[in-house]
Amino acid sequence: MNSFHPGESSSHPFREPAPLPSSIPKVNELGATSAPLKSAAFFIGAYCKEFNEDFMLCKAENRDPAHCLKEGRRVTRCATDLISKMRENCLQQFEAHWNCLELNNQEYPPCRKPERVLNKCMFEKLGLVKSIPGTTPGQTPIHEVENPLYGRMQK
């Protein structure tokens, strides 16, 4: 147990080509990349709250991937559902916001204007509100502050 075994990286990264067994129900994976997901993040939090919480509690019990497959499928389905609804109802505003994020290192502070437009559209069409969990009760949330002190992260 005390001997040293030097490791070496293998020359080819390992890829498992076999899909999941057919006993597990198939759910299509979410096709949105990082910027649209970051843009939709708070709305996914509002829309899929119960499923997300279930999944996190399940993971807290046991980190084994096989343990939380069912809750994971529910999370995927809910997120896919919300992204489809967002694209159906607020496509222009959504695209504007995540394109702005992509031009700014995916940081929220430089993109407040498109974000406000998107939040308005989401509230009108789908009734979802962006709320940051953990804001102290009296304070205005940072995305509603008109002239914030701090801007984007310095390079």
Binding site: G7, S9, E16, G31, A32, S34, F94, E102, Q106, M153
Partner: protein, 85 residues
């Protein structure tokens, strides 16, 4: 006495060449990032997301908001392994 304009040539040269070098670097960076400024301060989460973007679209900076992933996405993840002994 006339203005010694020849003395200002080096200043102009230095400014122009600094500008050219800077512009070339900026253009090169943008070309590598599909016309967008490069990402900085990337942590492990962002690296993982950019790798996922690469698997979804073929380039780490190309974004798409399709609800459903393309065929073969489920089995395209790679594991970096290490041989011991």
């Amino acid at each position: 006495m006339p203005v010694p304009w020849e003395a200002l040539i080096p200043f102009g040269l230095v400014t122009a060449l600094f500008g050219a070098a800077g512009t070339l670097l900026n253009v090169s960076k943008r070309a590598q990032n599909q016309g967008k400024p490069p990402r900085y301060h990337i942590d492990s989460w962002e690296e993982m997301m950019m790798d996922r973007d690469q698997r979804l679209t073929g380039h780490a900076r190309k974004q798409t908001s399709e609800p459903v992933a393309p065929e073969g996405f489920e089995t395209s993840s790679v594991w970096y392994t290490e041989k011991t002994q």
